[in-house]
Symmetry: none
Subunit: 436 residues, 2 copies
């Protein structure tokens, strides 16, 4: 029922994060690693009081690590582990801790395996990555070439990780957190912090705010926060309590209130996605779907097929970008196109029914609209999108939907071309979720 259980310890433990890279200081790259690492450490009950970023500069990096090591138990660096001469993290840590760099056969083997698997000749410099400080533990990198390292220094620990987020994530989950808990013999005591995120769509932040105002002003130990994203608003409940059970009880009570006020717009919890909610609804009812997209250009189908196992219910999609393809592929009537225009309720309905018939699915979903930045008119402005559902006379569907057979909705979105495509996909998925 809840997302995060955060243990507490008798001896509080602190970690801090040192990000390395001139690209961060130039603002070319946003430091998402600091947020990711902090979140994982917080979940493990380890306090983080400082983040620092420095460039690829030995002097400043040495100073940053030394300072961090002075005030925290664990120092995690990210970046600067690549094979190039810019990458100075390992050498700096070796110097700082007075160790030699030695060739690690296991790392070398992994490196050679990496290039062999990809049928690439290993570049000469890549061997630099196989030299690690004497006595360091290596953390295997299953995504890229640079291994992570754990260097223990007088009761404290330096952990060096590569820069790319997708390389760091599995290393933290599978190796670093288990190592820290074991190394520091951390035994959780029975205080917990739990959280629960409730995800809504189809409402503006101000509408959710108005419905949950009393909850949003709650004070610790139980709080509710509101987070607005494009096409989504999240409510996050956090509760601190003496026991896991008590925290769960408090969260359950608040969740019940939110549910009773906003039920229809809740599509999921915690790590859920809207495409996942659609997947569950379709699988539960054993329904199949096909899509006909115009303005979204395949993005709705992309999101549907991001769910593993989507081939069980998603049969096919047609991206009917030209008028000819709407007529020839989907059987939209040239008369309808001419009379109402490609962006109209009528064409949306014919597209949805056309793709449903063509694919022989229970549901046909269609979108037609104006994504911009050009092509808008006064009566059909940029951001105008029609979304239609066509439904088979199928007993598995909700009674209301079966009676309707088809429905169409008009939306007016704001934003860039990609933002309009995203919001349209969000509304389309929500339309499916609500009507099956």
């Amino acid at each position: 029922m809840t997302a995060v259980t955060r243990p507490c310890y008798n001896t509080p433990m602190t970690a801090e994060i040192v990000a390395i890279g001139t690209e961060l200081l130039l603002g070319h790259v946003v430091n998402t690693n600091a947020a990711f690492l902090s979140q994982k450490l917080a979940e493990a009950g380890i306090d983080v009081f400082h983040h620092t970023t420095v460039g690829d500069n030995p002097g400043r990096l040495t100073e940053a690590i030394r300072k961090a090591l002075g005030r925290s138990d664990v120092v995690i660096t990210s970046g600067g582990l690549g094979p190039t001469v810019d990458d100075i993290t390992i050498e700096t840590i070796a110097k700082l801790t007075g160790r030699e760099l030695i060739l690690d056969r296991a790392v070398l083997k992994d490196l050679n395996g990496y290039f062999k698997l990809r049928r690439i000749k290993a570049p000469r410099d890549s061997i630099r990555q196989a030299y690690i400080p004497e006595g360091a533990k290596r953390i295997r990198n299953r995504v890229g070439t640079a291994p992570g390292l754990i260097v223990e220094v007088r009761g404290k620990v330096i952990i060096a990780l590569p820069g790319p987020p997708r390389e760091i994530e599995p290393m933290v989950e599978h190796e670093i957190l288990p190592y820290l808990l074991k190394h520091y013999a951390l035994n959780p005591i029975p205080y917990t912090l739990r959280s629960r995120t409730i995800k809504l769509t189809g409402l503006a932040e101000s509408q959710v705010n108005a419905k949950a105002k009393d909850l949003l002003s709650l004070k610790p130990p139980t709080t509710v926060g509101i987070y607005a994203k494009l096409g989504e608003v999240d409510l996050k409940i956090m509760a601190k309590a003496d026991s896991d059970r008590e925290a769960a009880r408090v969260i359950g009570r608040i969740e019940g209130k939110i549910h009773s006020r906003l039920r229809g717009n809740i599509f999921g919890y915690d790590e859920d996605t809207l495409e996942g909610a659609v997947a569950n609804a379709l699988k539960r009812k054993k329904l199949t779907i096909a899509t006909a997209e115009s303005c979204t250009g395949g993005f709705v189908s992309h999101r549907i097929t991001n769910v593993s196992g989507s081939s069980g219910y998603f049969m096919m999609g047609i991206i009917a970008y030209s008028n000819e393809s709407k007529v020839n592929m989907l059987g939209v009537s040239p008369f309808t196109l001419k009379k109402y225009g490609a962006v109209s309720r009528e064409v949306a309905l014919e597209m949805a029914e056309g793709v449903r018939r063509l694919a022989g699915t229970d549901i046909g979903l269609s979108l037609t609209g104006i994504a911009g930045p050009t092509g808008g008119t006064k009566s059909k402005p940029i951001g105008l999108v029609y979304i239609a559902l066509a439904m088979d006379d199928c007993k598995k569907l909700k009674a209301e939907s079966r009676k309707l057979k088809a429905l169409v909705k008009e939306f007016r979105f704001k934003g860039t071309r990609e933002e309009i495509k995203f919001q349209a996909s969000q509304a389309a998925l929500e339309l499916v979720r609500r009507n099956v």
Copy 2:
């Protein structure tokens, strides 16, 4: 030809950024302000060597600002200016600089105006935001309630900004940068820093590294950096010179070297995208395209249609997820499907030719593969993707492509389902770009 022109000064000036907020240390919020501020400062010719993040803790905040003030000319803080007791930035700066907090009538007037305009009753605590350190300059906040502040301290400057990015952005552009240039009497002298990013695909970072090793170890005033992303490697040339012309000349020379070594893999420069490069190639040759996607589920078409004006050359796409749709929609032979399997060179070729014929376009592009995380076998592992191009016997195409009529390539990608979809889309777009 170049992306950024950055002025230089006789006396190099340094700034650093101190972000404040427990939500940053818990990883609930990503510190995008540091990247934004750094980018703006870099463009103004001001060096940034450190970012620091601390929580809403007076001791640690005081230490962070004091340290920053010791080593940099300008310290910019973000966050902690709200009306609640958690917001301690102003008090901390006042104490650190030995100033009283006094009520500022102009700020109070702005605050009252803010609430009046929105027809909201001003919360009691909001008056806290009208107290500012003696002698501080206020920076008007036209988006939210917390004003920014400039506090001059013994030839150095502390600038306090609120946390929300959309409040900071106009303040930086319209007030802070002009203030810094004026306050430090920074007269750009005719030195400039220019940069040029060269974007490549189809090579691993290590392969690009091997080809550009000598360039990557260049020392200032001219440097080349390497940045690896998923399915893309960027080389960024930065040159500092006496004149804009000289910087352009130096960059041109290095760019020429990179071009001569890696020409085939360069798809664009600076802000270019691969889908944009494909768009330009198709438009230049007046070619039309249609897509047949299986494993990418519409993502390739989504990227093609992210380019405004893509309706001029992209006619339609078929997402043939089921075997039936491959046969019924694209005319793939059931025999081929059975003999070679859906993920095969043969099926990819029939899909490409099928969609080309169906849409009547010059080019048909197809993808079939295994995106995972399930469905892999020993002979057809997760990440195996076939990408095919079918080409009309069209005079507008390259002679080689016309002669071929069709081609297919095998790829083996690594990563999550979405990462495999992305890399496949990258390879597919690159295949089009290279063969038209």
